[in-house]
Symmetry: C2
Amino acid sequence: MTKGMPTIKEIAKKLNISFSTVSRALHDHPSIGLGTKLKVKKLAEEMGYEPNQTAVFLQQGRTFTIGVILPHLAESFFPAAISGIEEVAIENNYVVLLGQSLDSIEREIMLVESMRKHRVDGLIISMAKNTNSYEHFEKLKINNIPIVFFDCIPNMKDIHTVSCNMISGSIQAVSYLLKKGHRVIGLINGPEKLTASKERLDGYQKALLKNRLKFDPSLVVNSDLTKKGNINALQNILKNKRKVSAIVAFHDNLALDIMQELENINKEHKISIVSYANLPMMPFLKYKPDASVEQFPFLQGKKATEILLDIINNKFKETIENNAFYKIILDSKLIEYD
Amino acid sequence: MTKGMPTIKEIAKKLNISFSTVSRALHDHPSIGLGTKLKVKKLAEEMGYEPNQTAVFLQQGRTFTIGVILPHLAESFFPAAISGIEEVAIENNYVVLLGQSLDSIEREIMLVESMRKHRVDGLIISMAKNTNSYEHFEKLKINNIPIVFFDCIPNMKDIHTVSCNMISGSIQAVSYLLKKGHRVIGLINGPEKLTASKERLDGYQKALLKNRLKFDPSLVVNSDLTKKGNINALQNILKNKRKVSAIVAFHDNLALDIMQELENINKEHKISIVSYANLPMMPFLKYKPDASVEQFPFLQGKKATEILLDIINNKFKETIENNAFYKIILDSKLIEYD
DNA sequence: TTGAAAGCGGTACCAG
DNA sequence: CTGGTACCGCTTTCAA
């Protein structure tokens, strides 16, 4: 047992007063005599007293902890998001419980369970890529633990979300390539069912339409985002009778893979690439895309946390439960390199 | 108050039995009738009962939470370390509280305080770069909260540490360059007082000695690791009357800066670079070092956590307090590119 | 101004 | 096999 940790009772005993008096003295309760207040505070200081928050938490029914579950930290998107989350959390005296799902639904379920056990006041989640059942999220409703989803969002009703609208960014991306004179533009998209993929496709089509170009489905291929899948997708696109002069890539990482592969198989054939993420290392790369769509992870994290704390505070203020759901959508933005 | 959360008592009431019976039933206590056990479990399931860990924590005096404080997540070293930490933590039913000090001592102090309030069972810390007073760490001893330091370690007595011995890696790095024929090798080191810097210098000297070359202090410069400082350091080295043909750079990031600068000022003058970190993006870089020293962050995180849990468990097993301190030192390893 | 006591949600011991 | 009860550390009425 955490010995060496003085409690309110020990202080009380030494001072021969009741421990409720000590509690009040420590909290500057107005009805406490100045004399006792000072005595108590002095002794508490001397003994190195610190309130045991776990007790306070139990009593208050809240933990001042928010859980954050995301696929992993390898992609700089997520560290940036965490920084945004932390900024707001710290400002509000909250603390961040972190878990990486590693894009495994089993692990995600485990993490949700674990955080529920730890009674986080709320959760911020970017879903594992292949999560397709949402019971573990639903279950949290019973516990009245609010969730704010960001980035990778489940297809559920009545949830709070923060996301970055990739449609506008995609339109910018394709328009950029069109402006550069490209007319046959391929799209290597992510897994089909992902919202992220749908939005990219949507923007891609819209941009073509806007420029009165016909949409050619054969120029769109999907990748499972493994290196193999990426290269495969590239090969499929290159097989097309229509020779693409530019490719929109689902993500910078995918772009890296295909640029490397392009280098391997076909040095001379110059294909322009535009991708998504705007990873900070991009400027240092040997081969880099011409531009990349920024998704503002820091801002997403920040917003998500603001929302979450809002919801939590309403919960504890016993405000009338309202059925409104936050659905924040930031705009993406194409960043051109050089 | 977290309503919607059934308690053991509510279950007891519905079943008209005492809540202690419910508690035991839920824990498969041997002395509980099969009938009641099943009844209880069934109802608990139906009501979506989950034990309130904060209550358990209070009772047990532990939180099954470890705090992790590190400078930031931008450098892939730290995400990797966290992954190692998480792996062990999860295995042992622990959960990870994360805080970024952003290399600010004030923030570090705040985070330590915050985690102490939350009664983490232990802490894993990589110190902020310019932390030079250690009271906030000392204070934790009063609370009996163990710390394991890794990577950036304070100059304190009687602490547990996990680190990567950079000396061997440095020797390998310099030997590598010597083998390639370089004879005038510069060292751009980090801040002088950092252990990390000392080790690099140490290895650098040892390697020279081994090859019967004289150590020339004028070939060693320090950088504060800002971009400006890095470039400055490079310029200082280039000013030397002895023309370096190779440079050992304190870190990949420093290497990036100076390679860029070299490109800017002096394309033709080819200087070989060897650095530290082995960042995963290195293979994709436009200019890259010839080799980089790997510090095994994942392993460091893992080891640190194993140690910490060990200490924690001893604490709770009330084992005889022993004055032994862990001091784990992993070996670094030079990774050659292409 | 202060003390006593009831919880918060559990665990665990002691009787029956 | 089950109920009663004390306790973990603290906050907060209710009385005095």
